[in-house]
Every structure is written in C-alpha cells, then in structure tokens.
C-alpha cells in the first residue's frame, strides 16, 4: 500500500479537464467516483446526459444554419442538387466530428479507465526500479492547452460577431453555437494528446535510465583508467601486452575491437568446443575489466570516499539482466497501451484529419473569393476578414499538427530505446551482457507502436507533408477554376454587345457565375465524399 501512495495515477492531473468535459457533456464517466478515487467508472446517467447534450447541440446548430440560410437563398436557388448536398456536407462536418467524438467517448468509457490503470501499474514498476516520472508537467500542459483553446475559440467567435454580423437581428446571437463543435473536439483532443504525452514521457524515462547507466559506467571506467595510469604499472606488466595497446587506442575503438575479437573468436570456438567450456581468448580479452574491478575493490579503502560513487551497475551482469528485462517488459507494456489508446481514438482522429483538410482548403478558398468580392456561404463568413481567418487556420492546423507531431515523437522515442540498449552493451563490453542485449533487442524490434488513423494512413511527418501538398494543389485547382469562370464572364460580357446570340448568355451571367462556383465546390467535395465512403465501408464490415 505504501507504493500506491507514492505512485499516483496520472488522472489526478486530469481533474480540471475532466470537470470541464463532464459539465459540457463530452465524457459520460462518473464524477463522484473520479473525485474520490481518481478512477473512470461507467455511468448510465452520464451517457444519457451526453446524448442529451449532443441532441441539443445538433438542434441548435441546425437552427443556426437555418437562420443563416436565408442569406444564402440566392446562392441556393441556382445551385444544382449535388452541389447543394455537398454544401450541406461541408457545413455539417464540424457537427459530424463532434458526434463522432461523443459517440466514441460513450463507446470507450469502460476501456479508458483500464488504460489509466495500466499506466499506473507501469508507473509503479518504474518507481520500484528507481525511475520517477514527473507528472506535474501534464497538469501544466493541460492548463496551457485549455487556455489556448478557449482564447482561440472565443477570439474567433467574438471577433466574427463584432466585425461581420448584424447586431440588430436576434438570430445572429445563434452564431455562438457555431464554435461549440470545434470546442468540444478540442477538449477531447487535449485529453488524447495529454495521455499520449504521458506515454512519451515514460518512453523517455526508460531511455534516460539506460543513458544514465551508460554514463555512470563511463565515468567509472574513466576513473579506473586514470587510477591505472597514475598508479603503479607493475601489475600490468604481468598481463598481456595487448591490453596496453588497446588501452592507448582510446575508449570507443578499444571497446569495439575488444567486442569484435570476443565475438569472432568466441563464436569460432563455440562452434567447435561447445558453450560451457571456458574460452581462453575471452578470458584474456576480458581481463581488463576483471582486472579493473579487482583493482577497484582492492584499492577502495586506501583511496578517498568518492570512489564509492563510481560503482557501475553494468559491471554486475546478473543484476543488470533483471533490470534490462524489466525495462524491456515495461517498454512492451507502454507500446501496448499506446496501441490501445490509438484504437480508442482512431475514428475521431480520422474524422479530425478529414475535417482539418477540408476546412483548411475551404477557408483558404473562400478567403480568396472574399478578396475578389464574390459571394461565399454564410457559415464561412469569417473568411471575409483576413485576421480572423488567420487565427482560425492557426487554431485548426495547430490541433491537427500537434497530434500528428506528438504521435510521431512517441513512436520515435519508442524506437530510441533499442539504441540506448546497445549503448549499454558497447560501454560494458562484456560477452554475457552482449548476449542478453542481443536477445532483448530482438524483442524490442517486435514492439511496435505506430499511430494510424483507422489503418488508412499513419500519423507521421510524411503524412503531414502529403496533406500540405494536397491542400496546396487542390487550392490551386480551385483558384484556377475561379479565374477561368471570371475570364469567361468578362469575355461573355464583351461579346454580348456585338453578338446578339450572346446577349442571353450575358443576362444569365450571375447564374453562370454561381454555377462555376458550385463546380469548384464540387471539385473540392468529391475528395471528401470518397473519404466518407471509405470510412463507412470499413465500418460496414
């Protein structure tokens, strides 16, 4: 029990975020249980509340769209059916995103508690090994992210309301609800990213512990070397001359050579003579280490007390084996937790990425349209102001990029463990230890944590680059369409004065313009349609 008091669940630091999520109806878990035991328990009342909030927001959001759609009536009348349907989709993707988040929160409510329980167990084991994870960073991060989210949301909403909307109408107050879906999504993603960061921290702690072992051993070796140089050389004379030569070559190279010699001769002998037999070559090559140890033990009482610090764990193979095994198991467990975490949030991340891609492109395109004094749908009216657009884009992009970046970092950190493990082996330069490390690194190779969105694409920098390229090319296509439509319009109006057959065309200019606009919208939307079809077909099976 004493250990449970020293190691507390990281959910302790989530209390503010959980309160916020609970009150706003994102997470259905039981509040009282959380307050008392810091545990996530299933709650049926919570589910009902979440569903109620979801329905209320859906109704209010629809009301908003309905009240604003009067302004678009000219736009809508001339639109074709498909473009209209696509326009609806573009309008509702924010809402779809929120609903996905809430539904997956309801679905995950049982498993989420398990994840934090597993993380606590990992923490306990880390504590027993002697690694302490600093969890207070999480709280700081949560606070900063919540503050940033609220600042961005409120700035965008209020600025759009003040600058762009008509204050006299009562229904412009409904604009408030336009920011709710994104706010909900952001809070959910803060939860996800903080947990992901906690996992990354644990990988980093393991890596640091391994690095520390390496450093301690290096210092220990340097110490021994120093003493050996300064001390009497008479004992060395008895030993093989190779030791001296190797020693002069400097640490790294001598170590490598040493190991290589061991491996080459050892394996050659092992094939012939069998394992249990003592290999003469290895004892000679290892003599430096043994000798050092021997010397240190012998001279410790005579020298100063500082030497006690330079006892390296890496020289004690049997103890180090347990520790490395523990690290390896912990690494595996954290990887498993990471996979589970990714699975729980896979759908909402997929929808978030689709949302980010679409909205980013649409907002930029409408910004272009607004600078050319062309009509834009009312839900994107923030595009009329460049500053608000910039804030909005930063906010949306920040959310997507941060999640991708964090997933990428976490999987990099998990891969780094193998490198750290091998550093241990290189520094210790012991045959037994090398065997252990080879065995463990084979295991580490099979612990994979890759973050994907439903298996469709992985969340790493390459995807980010691809998405950025996609946005750029689609934007260029859209703008080219727009330019072409504009040119066509100009040409038609200039021709209309001369050619009687073109007059009717010129009169229909406005509808043609809208048609071109709708075509551009269609072009944009076909890409999303495919995303949705893909998602639904995978859900079907």
């Amino acid at each position: 029990m004493s250990q449970q008091q020293t190691v507390q669940t990281i959910l302790l630091h989530f209390s503010e975020l959980f309160l916020l999520c609970k009150v706003m109806g994102i997470y259905p878990q039981n509040w009282k249980v959380f307050q008392r035991y810091h545990d996530l328990k299933k709650s049926n009342v919570g589910v009902l509340f979440v569903i109620f909030v979801m329905l209320a927001i859906v109704v209010l959001y629809n009301l908003l769209i309905f009240s604003f759609s009067e302004e678009d009536s000219t736009l809508k009348a001339s639109q074709s059916t498909l473009t209209f349907v696509i326009g609806i989709f573009l309008t509702y993707i924010g809402l779809i995103m929120m609903i996905t988040d809430q539904l997956s929160a309801i679905r995950n409510q049982k498993h989420l508690g398990e994840i934090y329980d597993r993380i606590r167990k990992v923490d306990e084991r880390l504590y027993r090994i002697g690694c302490v994870v600093n969890n207070s960073v999480l709280e700081l991060r949560i606070r900063i992210m919540i503050a940033l989210t609220f600042v961005c949301e409120i700035t965008i909403m209020i600025a759009a309301y003040i600058v762009l909307l008509d204050h006299t109408k009562w229904n412009s107050l409904l604009w408030i609800f336009s920011c709710l879906p994104t706010l909900y999504n952001s809070l959910d993603k803060i939860w996800f990213s903080t947990t992901l960061y906690a996992l990354q921290q644990r990988f980093a702690v393991i890596n640091r512990a391994l690095e520390d072992m390496v450093q301690v051993h290096e210092r220990y070796k340097a110490m021994m070397a120093h003493r050996k140089r300064s001390g009497s050389n008479n004992m060395v004379k008895n030993k093989n001359v190779i030791n001296d030569i190797l020693f002069d070559l400097g640490h790294e190279e001598s170590l490598k050579l040493n190991y290589l010699q061991n491996e080459l001769r050892g394996s050659g002998l092992a094939g012939k003579l069998g394992k249990n037999r003592v290999k003469p070559v290895i004892t000679v090559a290892n003599s430096m280490n043994n000798f050092n140890q021997f010397q240190s033990i012998k001279k410790q009482p005579t020298k100063s007390a500082i030497n006690i610090h330079y006892e390296s764990e890496l020289s004690n193979v049997s103890r180090v084996e347990d520790k490395l095994n523990d690290f390896c198991q912990l690494h595996d467990e954290i990887c498993e937790i990471g996979k589970k975490l990714n699975e729980l949030w896979s759908y909402s991340i997929l929808v978030l990425m689709a949302y980010g891609f679409l909205i980013f492109t649409a907002q930029l395109y409408f910004l272009y349209c607004a600078t050319q004094d062309q009509p834009i749908p009312s839900l994107f009216l923030s595009a009329k102001n460049a500053l608000i657009t910039a804030t909005f884009l930063l906010y949306t992009a920040g959310k997507c990029v941060y999640i991708i970046y964090l997933s990428w970092r976490t999987s990099l950190e998990s891969k780094h463990t193998g490198i750290c493990l091998h550093k241990c082996g290189v520094v210790a330069d012991d045959n037994n230890l090398y065997e252990i490390i080879n065995h463990l690194s084979l295991k580490l190779l099979n612990h994979s944590v890759d973050f994907t969105a439903c298996g469709f694409f992985s969340l790493d920098m390459e995807t980010l680059y691809g998405v950025a390229g996609g946005i750029t090319s689609y934007l260029i296509i859209l703008i080219q369409f727009n330019l072409a439509a504009q040119q066509a319009k100009d040409a038609a109006s200039s021709h209309g004065t001369n050619d009687p057959s073109q007059i009717s065309n010129g009169a229909d200019n406005s509808s043609e313009d809208v048609n071109d606009y709708s075509t551009a919208l269609t072009t944009l939307m076909t890409s999303t349609a495919s995303t949705i079809i893909t998602a639904s077909s995978s859900a079907l099976n």
Partner: protein, 464 residues
C-alpha cells in the same frame, strides 16, 4: 465425386445445365454423403455452399474426398465435365465478343452521350476479360488450389492430434455475401431490361445475362479467396493464442493463482513453462506451413486479383461519374439508372472491402506471432535461444499479400483506390465541363481550355 447439394448453386438458376447432368450430380451427392463419415467436421463443411458453386461452374476441380483430412484429384468423368464447362464459357465469351465488335448489340447502347456508350462498352469488355482470366487461371492452378485445401486440412489434422482442439472458422460471411451478390446481379439485370423501351432481341438478353453471370462469378471467386485468407488468419490466431500462454503476463497470472488458490481449475490457467519447447516448436512448424500456404494462396490468386481490382476500379470510377452526371442534369433524372449505379457501386465496394479486410487480417495475425513471442521472458538460455531463432528469422520475412507484386492489399488499399477514383472523377468532370462549354458557345470561350487542362496536369503530377 461432387459432395454437397447442388441446389444451392441453382438458386439463381444462372448456370444452364442439362437436367441429366443435374440428376447425375444429385446421385453423386447421395453417394458421397454416405461415403464420408458424418462426425468428422472439417472446415470444408463450413464453406460447402461456395465450393459447390465454384465446382459447378468449373472454377474448382471436382475433387474426391479420400478421407476426412485428404482430398484426391478429380476422376476422369468429372474432369471432362469441368473441361466441358470451360468450353461452354469460352464459347459464350467468343459469342459476346463477336456481338460487341460487330454491332449486334447496338440495342444496349441507347444512351445519347457518346462517352457513356463507350464507357459501358469498355465495362462489358473488362468484365469478360476478368471472368476469362479467372477461368483460365483457375484451370491452370487447379492443382495448386487442391493442394492448398489439402495442406490446410493437414494443418488441421496435426493441430487436432497435438491439442485435440478444433478451430472455429467463422466463415458465415461467405453465404451472406453470395446471397448479396446474387440479389444485386438479378436486380441489375431486371433494371437494365426495364430501362430499354423497345422490345429486346435475344442477343441483348444473352449479353445482359452473361454480363451479370460473369460479374457474379468473378465476385464469388473474390469471396472464395477471402475465405481462404480468413481460414489462414484463424489458424494463425490459434497459434498465437498457444504462444500467448507463455508470455510473461500470463505466466505471472499462473504464479499468482497457484500461490493463492492451489485448487483452481487448470483449464483456465496458462500452461507451465516446461512444455514451452515442445509447444513452441510445434507452433513454429505450423507457422511455417501456414506461411507457405499464405504465399501459395497469394501466388495462385494474385493475377485474378489484379484484373478484378482493375475492373472494379474502372467500374467504380465510371459509375460514380454516371451518378454525378445523372444528378447534375436536372432534366431527366432516371431512377432506374440511379439504382443501377448504386447497386454496382455498393457491390464493388463491398467486394473490395471484404478482400482488403481479410488480407489485412491475415497479414496482421501472421505478424502478430513474432510480437507475441517477444513477450516470452525466461532466464534459461535454451528457451531464449528458441525465441531468438524465431525472431531472427522473422526479421526479413516479408509478410505481404500483394496483387501480382504491383501493390500490397490491405486496409490502406481501399483508401488508395478511393483517392485515385476521386482524382480521375475530378478529371472526368473537368472534361465534361470543357465539352459543354464548347458546345454552348463555340467562340470566345477558348480561354477556359488552358487553365482547366493545366490544372489537370498539375493534379496528375501532385497525386502521382
């Protein structure tokens, strides 16, 4: 011999067979059901319906059931039957090709737009190519298919002997998908016949129905290959569950239980570590066998998969384009065409989703083995060596289900196909608009051409 009731395949009564042949088959069925012991249930019992269809249409050889766990090559009479069926199929194909090229089928291409007719024509041609490839590859690889079934049965037998456990194959989806395919193809045939106003000639009927039958059979073959993959993935999963008993977490559980409650029933407990060498070596042997099976399934099916995927890619693109055209032209939105489009889209997407999901599952399960084995922690060098050997071997093992080496089939394939469809759709729509703007006003509008084409080119570059 031909086991299983033939009535299943006659559900749609698509395959025209002489009544004498049918009776003959029924008699064989009776013989067979008496010959094979009823208690031995292999996976073949789970997939009878699809096997019967494949056998009746000549895609699978009419093998002989020697024992419960062994299948023999087909008898001469059955082989002649298969060859006859193949001849019939090829004759039908040649007839259809002749009609398509000489214009006997002009009635089918009623659409006003030239491009639509060409699209439809190409689609029928691709369907014929797909089905012909399926038949040819199947007849060429008939021995390989039989071998796959035999090997799988052998693996089952060995598992049965070692652990006295039968593997549950959840292949229930096969029947569902077959029924789905048949219903959709009938539906499409009906709609197509209703769509044409004038009285149809016999040629048109034949072409429409043969097109549907070929479509259905190619789809059924895809279902069959997904079933093979599912069978493999279930077996991989069973091996994984065996090894999973030796991982450190399960072993810790054992220790805890044994210290607390010694009389806990042993069935739920993981096996003791002492049986690890034996079990793991057995699992490795089975794993290698399954891996070989996986590769041979891939080899024997991949050409068909490539052709089918190409066909369905084309079909999905043109259908979506048709759908778009239908919705955007507000003048006459034909409900029939919309329904055909949706039915085609749905059936093709379902097939692709099924295939990619099954192959993804099998690959995942096969890759999981080494991950699970990495969780076995044991002090003893002997056990460590067993683990190390397997892990070292699995480093360079390429576990991928490819379509003839062109691309990997897994969940991301679906994503890629749909993004490619989107790209081509955008290009097609651009061309359509170009055509329309040219038709609308022949002069003064040439400026539109350049940016639209440029954008197409730019997009092509960026997507590739």
């Amino acid at each position: 011999m031909c086991p299983g009731p033939l009535s299943v395949s006659m559900k749609g009564s698509k395959i025209k067979q002489s009544p004498t042949l049918q009776r003959e088959n029924d008699e064989i069925v009776l013989d067979d059901s008496m010959g094979s012991s009823p208690k031995s249930k292999t996976f073949l019992n789970d997939i009878t319906s699809i096997l019967v269809i494949l056998k009746a249409t000549g895609l699978m050889p009419l093998y002989v059931t020697l024992t419960a766990y062994e299948l023999g090559p087909p008898k001469i009479l059955n082989r002649i039957y298969s060859i006859a069926i193949h001849f019939m199929v090829h004759a039908m194909t040649i007839f259809n090709m002749y009609m398509l090229f000489t214009g006997g089928s002009n009635q089918l291409f009623y659409s006003y737009r030239e491009t639509d007719n060409i699209n439809y024509w190409i689609e029928i041609l691709l369907c014929i190519v797909t089905y012909t490839t399926t038949v040819v590859v199947c007849s060429k690889n008939s021995k390989a298919f039989l071998k796959i079934l035999n090997e799988t049965l052998k693996v089952d037998e060995e598992i049965q002997q070692q652990f006295s456990a039968t593997i549950v194959n959840d292949c229930g989806f096969a029947v569902k998908f077959i029924i789905l395919i048949l219903i959709f193809q009938w539906y499409i045939v009906l709609l197509k016949i209703l769509l044409i106003n004038e009285p149809l000639t016999v040629t048109s009927y034949v072409i429409i129905s043969v097109y549907s039958i070929q479509n259905a059979l190619s789809s059924i073959f895809i279902v069959y290959s997904s079933i093979l993959l599912r069978l493999l993935s279930v077996r991989f999963a069973y091996l994984n569950s065996i090894i999973n008993g030796y991982t450190y977490k399960e072993q810790q559980k054992t220790r805890r239980f044994r210290t607390r409650i010694p009389t806990k029933d042993q069935a739920t407990l993981p096996p003791p570590m002492s049986s690890f060498p034996e079990d793991s070596l057995f699992a490795f042997r089975m794993y290698n066998k399954l891996l070989r099976l996986y590769k041979s399934v891939n080899e024997s099916c991949s050409l068909i998969l490539v052709v089918y995927m190409g066909y369905s890619f084309y079909s999905i693109t043109t259908t979506t384009y048709n759908l778009f055209v239908q919705i955007t032209t507000q003048l006459e939105m034909s409900l029939n065409i919309l329904q055909i489009c949706f039915a085609l889209l749905f059936s093709h997407t379902a097939m692709l989703a099924l295939l990619s999901r099954c192959s993804g599952e099998a690959t995942d399960q096969a890759n999981l083995t080494s991950q699970i084995l990495a969780r076995v922690y044991e002090k003893s060098k002997e056990y460590q060596n067993i683990v190390d050997k397997f892990l070292t071997k699995s480093i360079k093992q390429e576990m991928q289900f490819t379509a003839y080496g062109f691309f990997v089939i897994d969940n991301s394939t679906l994503f890629k196909i749909f993004s490619a469809v989107t790209t081509y759709l955008v290009i097609l729509i651009q061309f359509k608009q170009l055509e329309e703007s040219k038709l609308d006003d022949s002069g003064g509008q040439t400026t539109t051409t350049t940016p639209a084409l440029a954008s197409t080119a730019a997009m092509n570059e960026t997507i590739q």
